[in-house]
């Protein structure tokens, strides 16, 4: 009999079955449920309508303020107040509000609310990030989240798994983000990845940092997949030690697991890449767009707002100045990431170089918070989406890329290849070691 993939094993275990196969619809136990400011009130309202007496477990419903803080408008301030009121009324243990805020997915991971071998869900699409620690992470609607808050369960279709086996050595400046966009370019939105579990393994995945794994799993939702997963290893253990809220089991795919498709990528051949405006699957190598004039650069989001992203930008911008034509904004993904970037000196290096630093949160990524794009702006972003109007004006163009390409481009005012820069002496930031 064929073996099972890591996603199938987790779904079998969490649904109390010996095994499951793709296509089955199963109810599974959910380890933790995240909801956040702008959809959280609807989630609790639906929960209240279900007739459950209490939350299934007050420690496992994680509430985060991220899209609306600090409120940039009166409307957002009012939404935030309503959200606070309803969270407090439900007596949850973990509420990360103003001052302790950050992007929900980053907090879920860095504070150990996601455990290998389990299933966690969230009411924001980038909940796929949770796969970085070897969990099944899934974005769901407010209805699904409310049902799970009442029952501790959710229904899922067991997905077919597509395997990406990553070999070779990472070139300097090439990050998890580049691999993600490279795969988007390989596969397009032609249905091959839609509803699939994407499993990343191989020697180059062992080399990839936890931050890089988070970027990679984070964007599986943008590829159209159900979830992305990296089986846990020593790096995962080290990441979770001391923060994990509970015990976990190391789980991985059987060597004879059945995949719907398998692809091998030699990462040595992948350089920095850029998604061109409007469609995420319109990806080119950085060489093809070098010299494209820009006026805004943004590094942040749940995809690339972590300490290592600040580190690579600081390594490139140290002792230099952002080009006068560029407005450059960087926003940490959470207060924890902010503090660590400060301790390491990255924040002062960046501020001296002329970078504006925003308050931890989702920032302008979704187009309604500080730092939005105006008419005709040409933005280079380390975020996750580039459809028309995503960051503000419908006539703004958004190029998506890695923090390394963003920082290199900040020096010249146009898209630049970081590999053309001299290697900084203090280049201690590694994505693949």
């Amino acid at each position: 009999m064929a073996g099972f993939t890591v996603t199938e094993k987790i779904m079998a275990q969490q649904s109390g079955r010996d095994s499951v196969r793709p296509g089955e619809l199963v109810w599974v136990d959910v380890n933790s449920i995240m909801t956040m400011d702008y959809l959280g009130k609807s989630t609790f309202n639906i929960f209240d309508s279900l007739g459950a007496k209490d939350l299934f477990d007050r420690d496992k419903v994680i509430c985060v303020s991220d899209h609306l803080v600090p409120p940039p408008t009166e409307r957002f301030a009012n939404l935030l107040n309503e959200w606070r009121e309803i969270v407090k009324a439900h007596n949850v243990t973990h509420f990360y509000d103003f001052g302790k805020q950050g992007i929900a997915h980053q907090i879920m991971l860095e504070d150990g609310h996601v455990l290998p071998g389990t299933i966690s869900i969230g009411t924001d699409s980038h909940a796929n990030s949770y796969g970085a620690v070897g969990a099944v992470g899934n974005a769901v609607s407010v209805t699904d989240a409310a049902v799970a808050m009442a029952t501790g369960k959710g229904w899922f279709r067991v997905p077919e798994t597509v395997r990406f086996h990553i070999t070779g050595r990472w070139q300097p400046w090439v990050m998890g983000k580049d691999l993600s966009l490279h795969i988007m370019n390989m596969m397009h939105w032609n249905g091959d990845l839609i509803y699939k579990a994407l499993e990343y393994d191989g020697p180059a995945m062992s080399d990839l940092s936890m931050g890089g794994r988070i970027s990679l799993c984070n964007m599986t939702v943008d590829l159209g997949a159900k979830n992305g997963i990296v089986a846990p290893d020593e790096k995962t253990q080290a990441y979770l030690n001391g923060v994990a809220k509970g015990d976990w089991e190391m789980v991985s795919s059987d060597s004879n697991a059945e995949y719907e498709a398998e692809y091998e990528i030699d990462i040595s051949n992948v350089g920095p890449v850029v998604a061109k405006p409007d469609n995420l699957d319109d990806v080119v190598t950085v060489e093809e767009v070098v010299g494209t004039k820009l006026n805004q650069i943004f590094i942040g989001t749940c995809t690339n707002g972590r300490v290592e992203d600040f580190g690579i930008a600081a390594a490139i911008l140290e002792g230099k100045q952002v080009h006068p034509d560029i407005n450059m904004l960087m926003v940490p993904a959470s207060q924890t990431q902010y503090l660590e970037a400060m301790h390491k000196g990255y924040v002062s290096t960046l501020v001296k170089a002329g970078v504006a630093i925003g308050t931890s949160g989702c920032a302008p990524c979704f187009g309604t918070h500080r730092g939005v794009a105006g008419d005709g702006d040409v933005v280079l972003s380390a975020g996750n989406r580039n459809m028309k109007g995503r960051m503000g004006s419908k006539s703004a163009e958004i190029y998506l890329t890695s923090p390394a390409v963003c920082a290199a481009s900040a020096l010249t005012g146009a898209i630049a290849d970081p590999r053309d820069l001299p290697m900084p002496e203090n280049f201690g930031v590694t994505y693949g070691e």
Binding site: S15, G16, R17, L25, V26, W27, Y38, L39, S42, I46, S49, L50, G51, A52, L79, T123, D124, S125, H126, A139, V140, S141, V142, T143, D144, A146, V147, A150, T151, K153, W155, W189, N190, G191, I194, Y195, V221, D222, G224, A225, K226, N279, G367, T368, R385, M387, G389, R390
Partner: protein, 179 residues
């Protein structure tokens, strides 16, 4: 779940993003079929970008290519808006999983059908049976077989959606039986 649905189809050209089905200014509006239907599809085509711009056409079906309602938005207004506008089923090459879930949770048939784009044009009359997956173009006489819906999906639709399904399970103390 109703079978033998009949009505007129609107066929999309290119990707249809959830962002365009419900434009960003309506993301935080209340989940209400009537309200959401007034502005549904506003970003998909300039003809639909006004009050009742899509709804007033009286379409019953949408036919689309890959990744219908993609772009990674989980908002349920996409489904309530389409239902409020009179859409009885969406038939596409593939669907974004977030909205595929939402459609199941609300009992709106999202039918996966390879080749549907080739046999349907805007304005054609279709007959659709979600349970069996049989689709007939009454205008051209062509027929095609789509993926039939799973029994669980029909069960949720029969209950009137996931919320009623779960309310009933909680009331009857049957939550532990959900497997």
């Amino acid at each position: 779940m109703a079978n033998n649905l009949k009505g007129t189809v609107w066929k999309a050209e290119g990707y249809v993003f959830a962002y365009d089905i419900i434009k960003q200014e309506f993301w935080t509006s209340a989940l209400d079929k009537e309200e959401n239907s007034r502005w549904v599809m506003g970003g998909v085509h300039s003809d639909f970008d006004c009050e009742n711009g899509f709804k007033s056409n009286g379409y019953s079906f949408i036919v689309a290519g890959h990744n219908f309602a993609g772009g990674g938005k989980s908002i349920e207004h996409v489904i309530t808006g389409l239902m409020g506008a009179g859409i009885k089923a969406v038939i596409a090459e593939s669907f974004s999983r977030l909205q595929f879930r939402n459609a199941i949770n609300y009992g709106l048939p999202f039918i996966t059908c390879k080749g549907i784009e080739a046999i349907a044009s805007s304005g054609d009359e279709l007959e659709v049976d979600p349970i069996s997956g049989q689709i007939k173009n009454l205008t051209t006489g062509e027929e095609i077989q789509a993926a039939p819906v799973a029994p669980f999906v029909a069960e949720v639709a029969e209950a009137g959606g996931l919320i009623s399904y779960i309310q009933q399970a909680i009331k009857e103390g049957k939550v532990d039986e959900l497997r």
